[in-house]
């Protein structure tokens, strides 16, 4: 049989591992007691989550008047956070689906945790529109169901409703994709654990998986189908999110560049979050042989290319404003760069466009602490991007008499902190209960060399 990966390529798994080693290394962090570092991280993130729960409880009980919004700035922190978290999710699907279709084998090291990240990020994102409704207990009104009010149906012509369908489909398909990928690994855990609750749960969730080649054959087909479905889905989700803005006639929002601009931004911010998480996880969980500097370098290259697309979009927006001859459009962009919120705009430009340019240098891409800092800064910059798009387009609208300023209240800030708490708490729990790297996929992609000096017999010899 011929080698499926060229020997010229750097190995996907370093450290001369056998198949058994792969299983052991990846399941090891789940077996023992959590480390002190894990407890410290869990304490911080669950505290943040509790702060968020208290803030959400208070604002739902009291009303949205607890926010800093006014008649001019009707969308602020809440929608910023929503767009930010949806965007974070997109890199997970990029890595698990798009790179799968492009046969990028290195994705196997990061796809499991990137998919988990997607799931948790979309959960965080979904919370914000729910809170924004003011009466979240009536959220089922967004679904078209026969009701006693007519039936009065939902408005299928509104991008906000498209969003309801896009986000919920995205959450469900991501969850299914993630679970289907987990089934063989859950079977591995089932067969390796002592009799007890862990074995029983993994036995139920692995659905009686026995590793039959016939099942694997169908499984691969379905995995390819899911990847093929998730790829246009991920592009549609942020396209629809951008249409929430682009279909409004607000200068600064009403542009045709928004869908590709938002999708590129989403993948950019998501890659930054994947890098942030994986750089920590590989150290804490001792997975340095699986998430190698080569993986980090490839993700950095992807992040750089996305950052350049985002930079181009920033420039295009300004050009179109100047070229349109529309004074309101021109004013919005001048105000963005030099108005009272220019500090947010320049934070965004430096974090998203200028600093990532350092990634052109191989030295920077392979210096992991530096990559970590850049990834954090991109996260910050991408949060500010959404803030800039939403708030600077609104706060000085057509009539100077209705100009206003927007300052978030402590409740809004606490809600943002809470969403980070939810995200990291979920991620830390995930690292404990599920293999953080797709065991079966790494084994399949790595094509590990044989041990013990046995040599392969070619077909001709045997015949």
């Amino acid at each position: 049989m011929s080698e499926q990966t060229s020997p010229l390529r750097p190995p996907l798994v370093t450290g001369d591992k056998t198949l058994g080693d792969v299983t052991r290394d990846i399941t090891a962090p789940m077996a023992g007691k959590p480390t002190g570092l894990w407890w410290a991280a869990f304490a911080i993130s669950s505290t943040a989550l509790l702060i968020g729960v208290a803030a959400v409880w208070y604002q739902i009980a009291t009303g949205i008047g607890t926010w800093g919004l006014n008649r001019t700035v009707g969308w602020g922190f809440d929608i910023t956070n929503f767009v930010f978290w949806v965007g974070i999710g997109h890199a997970g699907t990029l890595i698990s689906a798009v790179l799968f279709l492009f046969r990028q084998k290195w994705r196997t090291a990061v796809n499991r945790s990137a998919e988990a990240m997607t799931l948790f990020a979309v959960m965080c994102a979904g919370l914000f529109p729910l809170i924004h409704m003011g009466r979240p207990w009536l959220c089922y009104w967004m679904m078209p169901y026969p009701n006693t009010r007519g039936s009065l149906w939902v408005n299928f012509k509104s991008p906000l409703l498209w969003d309801v369908f896009a986000i919920s489909t995205y959450l469900l398909i991501s969850a299914v994709f993630w679970y289907v990928g987990l089934i063989p690994d859950l079977a591995t855990i089932r067969d390796r654990s002592e009799p007890g609750w862990k074995r029983r749960i993994s036995a139920i969730l692995s659905l009686g998986w026995d590793g039959s080649a016939r099942t694997w054959h169908r499984y691969e087909t379905v995995y390819l189908l899911l990847a093929g479905l998730a790829t246009p889905l991920v592009f549609s989700v942020h396209t629809i999110v951008s249409m929430d803005f682009a279909t409004a006639v607000i200068p600064g929002w009403h542009t045709t560049i928004f869908p590709p601009y938002f999708v590129a931004g989403a993948i950019f911010s998501g890659l930054a979050m994947v890098l942030t998480l994986m750089l920590i996880a590989r150290k804490v969980m001792h997975l340095e042989d699986y998430v190698t500097p080569k993986h980090i370098e490839r993700m950095s290259q992807l992040m750089l290319s996305m950052g350049c697309i985002v930079g181009l979009a920033y420039g295009t927006e300004f050009f179109m404003a100047a070229y349109s001859g529309n004074p309101y459009e021109q004013f919005v962009f001048k105000n963005r760069a030099f108005g009272p919120l220019s500090w947010a705009y320049w934070t965004m430009v430096s974090c998203n466009v200028l600093i990532p340019q350092l990634l052109w240098f191989k030295k920077v891409r392979t210096t992991l602490p530096l990559v970590f800092v850049i990834a954090i800064l991109v996260n910050v910059g991408m949060w500010f991007e959404r803030f800039v798009i939403i708030v600077t387009s609104l706060h000085r609208d057509f009539l100077p008499s209705s100009w206003a300023h927007y300052i978030p209240t402590s409740i809004e800030i606490a809600t943002l902190i809470g969403s980070f708490g939810l995200f990291f708490t979920c991620f830390l729990l995930f690292c404990r209960v599920a293999p953080a790297i797709a065991i079966a996929e790494v084994k399949g992609a790595a094509h590990l060399p044989r041990r013990g000096g046995a040599t392969a017999v070619s077909e001709e010899q045997a015949a």
Binding site: M1, G150, A462
Partner: protein, 178 residues
Amino acid sequence: MSNRLLLATFEHEDDLLAATTAVRKKGLHIVDAFTPYAVHGLDRAMGLRQSRLTWVCFICGITGALGMLWFEHWTASVSWPIDVGGKPWNSLPSDVPVAFEAAVLLGGFGSVFALFGVSRLYPGKRAHVIRPRITDDQFVLVIGETDAAFEVSVIERLLRDYNAVETEEQIDEGGRIR
């Protein structure tokens, strides 16, 4: 009906692939293979047909898209027509995004549930693990007796050439492999 089966255990995917190809070339019946991960090229070596699950996905997707398009049309222009910004009641472009999402949702769920159905995967099923290391680092090829020419010693010798670490003969009762 009782059948004789031969189970051969391998420790590397290349051995399994080469053995499967050789066994099939000899005209022997391959019952199944058990592997810890999807071994690429094994489906071809075993002569498995292309899966028809793609059709399930296609039909579910089309059903989702057309069903949702009809539903959007029916709610917006038949059941309770409402003027939204002067747009026509039956405005097809604005129906596309939700119809697309419905296609993806149904296509995805349809193919996953079809996979569970045809491969008989369900919660609570007792896994029939043929070798304890099959979900870790071993590969098993199961060859079935089809005629009197099923000469175990000859096949065993063939399999040893492909680094089979263990071969075992079993009587298959009721179609189950132990």
